[in-house]
Structures are given as C-alpha cells and as structure tokens.
Amino acid sequence: MKAQESYPIDVAAIREDFPILARKVGGDVTTPGEGEGDTEPLVYLDNAATSQTPKRVVESIVDYYYGYNANVHRGIHQLSQEASVAYEEAHDRVADFIGAEGREEIVFTKNTTEAMNLVAYAWGLNELGPGDRVVLTEMEHHASLVTWQQLAKKTGAEVKYIRVDDEGRLDMEHAKELIDESTKMVSTVHVSNTLGTINPVDELADMAHEVGAYIFVDGAQSVPTRPVDVGDIDADFFAFSGHKMLGPTGIGVLYGKEGVLEDMEPYLYGGDMIRRVTYEDATWEDLPWKFEAGTPNIAQGIGLHAAIDYLDDIGMENVQRHEELLAEYAYDRLSEFDDITIYGPPGDDRGGLVAFNLDSVHAHDLSSILNDYAVAIRAGDHCTQPLHDKLGAAASARASFYVYNTREEVDALVEAVGQARELFA
C-alpha cells in the first residue's frame, strides 16, 4: 500500500478553491443549494460525469460578463475587440495544452458529442458509402457509438467493433483484422469511462494510417486526467469536454489536423462562419471559424482557458499520478470483498475511476443508499449500454476521482457500500 506522502498534490490547498466541496447534503432536492436538512459533508466521487469548478474559473466568467461582455468578431468597438481577443486566445491556450499546431486546429463545440457529430456530418456524410468501414471499440461511449452507427445507416457503410478482452483491454489482434483497406475511420475512446482502460491510441493511429483511414480519439476522460499530445498520438481528430476538466458546461473542443479540417465542408451554416455572401452563394471563413457558426459560447471558452491554467499550475503529471494512486487505492479496498465485482483492468493500470457492482444490491439502490451517506457516485450504464450488455450487468456503480479527492473519501465510499450490504442482507 502506498504511503500517503507519495501523493503529489496538496489537496487541502486545492479544496479551498472549490466552495462546493464544503457544502453539506442530505436534505430536500427540490430546492437547489445547501439548505435545511443538509447535514452531511459531501463526498463527491462523480468526476467522470462532471467535475467541480474552482473559483478562478467562475471568476473568469464573472470578469467577462461584468467587464467586457460583447459579441465576438463583429463589433469594431472596444468591448467586442476585448471579447474577441480573449475568445481567440482561449483557442491558442487549448492548442498549446494538447500539442496542436495552432488555433486553426481547435474548433470550439458544445461538448465531445457535438465534436463527434461535427466530424460525422461534415466528413462522414460526404466521404462514407457502401463498402466503407468504420471501426469502433466495444467500449465506446454512446457519443461515438450511436453517432457512427446512425451515420453508417444513412450512408450504407458498415460498423465493426474491436473486441474487449476479459481484463477489459482491447484485443489488438482483432483490431489488426478489422482495420483493413475498406476502413475509412477508426473512432476510439482514449480512456474508457466505464472500464478505466487506457487504450493504446497511438498504435491504433498507426493501424488506421497504414490503410489510409482517419482516427478520431475521444479524449473526454483523458485530457482532464493526464498529459495528452495529439501530435504524439498522431490523431486526425481528437475531442474533449470542458466541464470534465474544471471548466464550465457548454464548451467542448474538436481538434483536427489543419489539412483535414481544411478539406471538410462546414457542419453548421450561418453567421460568423462566412467570408462573403451573395443571394446566390457564400464562401467560408478561415479555420477554425468555418466550423463555429453563430454566436459561440464565449464566456465558456474563456472559462475553459482559466481551467487549463489551473490544471497546468498543478501539473498534468501530478494530476495523473494523483488519479492513479486514488484509483489503485479504491480498487484495492473494494477488492477486499468477495461480493464486489470490479470491471476493467487491475488497479495499477487504469484511469482514475472504478466501476463495480455489489452482488446483492442493484446499482441504483446502491447509489441511493450511498447518497444517504453523502457519497455521490454515478449509477447506470454510463452511456455504454452495449458494453454493459457484454459485461452482463444492466447497470454499475462508478466512483471517479479528481484533483480534490482524498483517500479518506475512498474510505467513506467503502464504508457506505458496507452499510448498503448490511441493509440488504
């Protein structure tokens, strides 16, 4: 067992930056916020669904609304220029954070799902047809799975799934078989939101490129939790969401190689994405604005910038180490019980989340009881229904960790699971 000292993050100091972590829960849910009946200190272990927001991020949004709120790319007036500069610099900051060449490769979207749909519609609808293959994995999030499945139905392309083995890892031999000359797209999750598996996306990128296919990496669970360099992976497309990495909701990122994005038609048409419009025709704005039609989520883009600054101050290597230590600790503690099934690879080789089931208690009941002990986890299929079918579980409980979580909170989880066991015994 690891010594507490080996945790690289000063969690106590970090927690000061998150007012919500001081709140108590247990009372009436119809009135938001802490109120009467809220008596138990919150243990928030649902970070893979959404992370909490530090003061600095909220303040960056307040500063925008109080100080320079204006539409971008339109006004010549000072406020609009300030907003435009801040919004554009947010693109630069994201590019720098994930190793992209520049803002041309960074399209702001609503979330990962929208980024996936953007590529499916702007690229897939034009490029896919009968005889073409899209290769996914059995552990895809619905964001990717449903999007490509439905696009295949529209275009006549076929979808194949790389097998997940008994340890929750991709069967790379099977990947080799599936990624053939007919393959036009390989879309894979980087870190599984259910199994915690860290997939060898660079190897999959090589396989895809060998047959002339693109690779789309879903980084919704990887960018928040570890250093990521899209160049090292050699991803053609890469996507993630701001709200899972201390940022606000409503902002996501699509990375695309400049040449690839250049060749793609727009996904949404309208204002802000055009250069010249006549009654007969229109031409498109440069990258990335070609893909950002209409007034974008300006405040949220600025908030994402602040979130990245915050994470970089901690250091993504430290974030990763902290996640690994907590995941391993949770895995070890939950493994002590024979009636708990944990999904995915061993504790020392996974992302910062643990999905599990307690034999005698349905995941939703478990989650309700944990809620009683102020422990917030996710219960359900985590947007991976086909994977849950394969695992033979309608649902699972998932605890997921972030920079402000502690070993004591893992202990609180294990204790509350014990209470549920007793209640249902």
């Binding site: 829960v25 208690v361 995941a363 939703h364 309700s368 009683d372 359900g380 299929d381 249902f424």
Partner: protein
Amino acid sequence: MGMGSDMYRQQILDHYKNPRNYGEMEDPTFSHVGENPSCGDTIKMDVRLEDDGDTIEYVAFSGDGCAISQASASMLSQQLPGKTLSELKEMDRDDIVDMLGVDISPMRIKCAVLAEKVAQDGAKIYQGEIDLDKTKTED
C-alpha cells in the same frame, strides 16, 4: 439520515427480499411487459379477471431490477385484486408513492411507477384502446 434510507424502509426491503405473488400465471386474462431502460428494470404483470370481465381477481408479477421497482410490483400485486380495470387505469404516481409509504426521489420515480404503468398498459391493450409491445418508462 437523509432521504435514501427513508426510501428503503423495512416494508420496501421486505417486499424486495420476499416478493409476493412472484412468478408467472398459467391462465392470465392478459399479460404485459415493460422496462425502465435507464435502470434495466424489467417487469411482467399477469392479470386474471373475474367472470364479469372487469374486476381484477389475481395478479402475479415477474422480473428483475432495483429494489424500488420490484417492491412496487410486489405491493401492487396485493393491492390490485378487487379493483376494476377503470379503477386501475385511473391510478397515478401519487397512488404509488402512497402505497410505498416513502418519499421517492425524482430520479427514482420511474422505477417506482413501472409496475403500475405495465398493468395499466396491459389493461388498455386488453380493452383494445392501444397497441403496444412493451411499456417503457422514459418520459
């Protein structure tokens, strides 16, 4: 403690662990199935009517899922006999919450009403009012 433990009062746990009228009926007047896709709860309700073709004589259920959904089905199977089909169809979620005797959190209400909806849809199909393969609580 908070609402969670209230939700699992003895009565619900008792019905979950020892479900009443559990199993499939050999000669039901009508049967219907339903699921709660978000939880994976499934319920089959078998209903036998009395000779008047309107009064519920006996109800059996089978299925699998969370304690709230299964306990609700078990308790409903005890409560329905003696009711007419129109009385069944008039039931709403408040009746189920009253029956369970606990506050059901908003996120779990679908689990609680699944059995009721399955029985109601089964009655409507039997009376030719709707055509439906499977009830889903998604609204």
